[in-house]
């Protein structure tokens, strides 16, 4: 009975996604602007869910719950605390000004926005290379994480290779025909599913474990250290401080997030997104934290990577098989909503910023190449996810930090008229090299002064931008006017 129901639910879920793809293709125009940016016409709910669903990965439910299992309630503040405020704040700080320039000059990606501000093809190229360099391994790791979770939750019935194939294949079904519009519509559907089911799952598990108060009381008796952050060495204050520079400020630099902000219809849409984003982030990570901590007393004794399976194990041990099916759909929804957006964004970068360096083509041809490249990148990502080369995984380990240290150049470009292309190039390349030297342990650990490498690299990026910009010629008045003239009109009404 539950097998039939399970197959039915999963089939229904896939049918909805395919339907969205077919309908999206019907209403889409065959222009580059429509395929990659939905004609810059996304409303508040669409932008909100597109950003939120792309932001939430398998780590949220699987990895974070595993981390909370070993760390306690402190995992909540450590991983998502600062993000709750700063991620939506960066939608204002960087997103709004970039959106204004996008509307005015037709910019659609970071290489276009920042290459345009500095009037430099080299800045655009460095942005392109770094974004592809960090996004591709991150995409592969997302597929690996999602496929492992999918295999775990099906108890190995669906093997890893098939899980990867299903996840990538279904993503392509609606992304190829409908582009950004297809991924955004499925994000609304999938985001609503995983938020709703995650909350229901929390309540069902609380009930199965004797109630919210009872399970918390059990933790206080059997594992009181879970309540005290000072007893968890992994979240010591210096790590806590450094981690604020890892994931929270990286989000706006992810090309898939940046593009979705440029696709917003109006300033009001972005305001609403920034306003309510903190609550959505706090809710989904709150559920994940509680599940992990509860798991530490409900199923004690898991070590290392085994703890990452705590959510499927809780469902398996304490709830009916129907919940396993719902859990499966949640994992699929979370994984696919981030993978499809990453796939589309790398395709967008190559189609819009790399290919035109060699050959100019029409808008319609760009869409054609975009579709071809989607398949190429998906096939490459699938192959790498099967082989799992160590080099790719080690780059993915510091991809978030790599994105974070690009932020000072983005902020400098949008707020400091004296910043120039020389400063931007140096501040993009130098900290990226230093990050590699630290993460690959070529430089000794003491050179980071006890912080995670991302913090000194971030400071280096700021210093490099300022020093090199001051040591080289200032941008021309015309170039500054092109960007800051727009901002003056918006923020000061034309005055200062």
């Amino acid at each position: 009975m539950s097998n039939t129901l399970g197959i039915g639910v999963v089939l229904l879920y896939f049918t909805v996604l395919v339907g969205i793809g077919i309908y999206g293709a019907k209403v889409s125009l065959k222009t580059r602007e429509d395929y990659f940016l939905a004609s810059r016409g996304l409303g508040s709910i669409a932008v909100f869910m597109a950003l939120f669903a792309s932001n939430i990965t398998a780590f949220t439910i699987i990895g974070h719950a595993g981390f909370a299992y070993g760390t306690g309630y402190g995992a909540y503040g450590y991983v998502i605390g600062w993000s709750i405020f700063i991620t939506p704040f960066t939608y204002y700080l960087v997103g709004y000004r970039s959106w204004l320039l996008g509307k005015r000059y037709g910019y659609a990606t970071q290489p276009q926005v920042f290459g345009g501000i500095f009037d430099s093809k080299l800045v655009a190229l460095i942005f392109l290379v770094l974004l592809l360099y960090y996004t591709l391994p991150y995409l592969v790791v997302s597929i690996i994480g999602g496929s492992l979770a999918f295999t775990t939750i099906t108890d190995g019935v669906i093997p890893y290779w098939l899980s990867s194939l299903v996840i990538i294949g279904i993503s392509l079904v609606y992304t190829i025909p409908a582009g950004l519009r297809g991924t955004v519509w499925t994000d609304i559907f999938q985001g609503a599913i995983f938020l709703t089911v995650a909350c229901l799952l929390l309540m069902a598990l609380a009930r199965a474990l004797g109630g919210f108060s009872a399970i918390t009381g059990q933790i206080m008796v059997e594992n009181p250290a879970m309540l005290q952050r000072s007893l968890s060495p992994g979240i010591a204050p210096i790590n806590w401080f450094s981690f604020a520079f890892v994931n929270s400020i990286a989000v706006i630099v992810f090309p898939q997030m940046f593009t979705r902000i440029l696709a917003a219809r109006s300033s009001s849409n972005l305001k609403r997104v920034s306003l309510y984003y903190p609550l959505a982030l706090a809710a989904i990570f709150g559920v994940s934290t509680l599940l992990g901590v509860w798991g530490s007393v409900a199923i004690p004794g898991l070590e290392g990577k085994d703890a990452d399976n705590i959510v499927p194990m809780l469902i398996h041990q304490f709830l009916s098989p129907v919940w396993m099916i719902l859990g499966l759909v949640v994992i699929l929804a979370i994984v696919k909503s981030s993978i499809d957006s990453q796939l589309l964004s790398v395709t967008h970068l190559v189609t819009d910023d790399l290919l035109p360096r060699f050959k100019r083509f029409t808008s319609e041809t760009a869409v054609f190449w975009g579709r071809i490249l989607l398949v190429v990148f998906a096939a490459a990502a699938y192959y790498i996810a099967l082989v799992r080369p160590a080099a790719i995984l080690s780059i993915a380990a510091f991809a978030f930090s790599g994105f974070s240290v690009m932020l000072p150049v983005m902020i400098g470009a949008l707020y400091w008229p004296r910043a120039n292309k020389y400063g931007a190039c140096a501040a993009l390349i130098f900290p990226a090299i230093m990050l590699h030297l630290w993460y690959l342990e070529i430089l000794p650990k003491w050179t980071t002064f006890g912080f995670m490498p991302v913090f000194p690299a971030f400071i280096l990026a700021i210093l490099t931008l300022v020093v090199v910009s001051y040591l080289s010629p200032a941008p021309s008045q015309e170039q500054k006017e092109k960007t800051f003239g727009i901002f003056d009109k918006v923020f000061t009404g034309g005055g200062n």
Binding site: T31, R32, E33, G72, Y73, Y76, G77, I80, G81, W82, I84, F85, I86, P88, F89, Y92, Y96, L100, K103, R104, Y105, G106, Y107, A108, Q112, G116, F212, S213, I215, T216, P224, L227, Q228, R229, S230, P237, W240, F241, A244, S266, S267, K271, S274, L275, Y276, Y277, P278, L279, L281, A282, G286, T289, L290, K482, I486, K489, V490, F491, T492, N496
Partner: protein, 84 residues
């Protein structure tokens, strides 16, 4: 109020939120503050409150320093960028 003053106030809000997030001196309260709603210890409930504070902070920032653009600014500027 000039936009520079508004931007300074926004920076102050960001600084306060950062200090609150890194308020290590409050960690001593983790096992002393009663559970919120009977199941949220301080290490958890602090961030439930922080998320509401973040919403309020964003509301203030939007009012202070996020004006809507005049229509002329959004007029596409032909000949620049990557317009269709």
């Amino acid at each position: 109020m000039s936009f520079k003053v508004r931007l300074a106030l926004v920076s102050l809000i960001v600084l306060i939120m950062f200090i609150l997030h890194n308020s290590f001196w409050l960690w001593d309260l983790d096992d002393r503050v009663p559970l919120l709603f009977g199941f949220m210890p301080f290490a958890f409930s602090f961030y439930v409150g922080y998320s509401i504070l973040a919403l309020i902070a964003m509301r203030i920032i939007i009012r202070l320093a996020w004006p809507d653009p005049p229509a002329e600014v959004l007029e596409p500027h032909r000949g620049e960028g990557h317009l269709e």
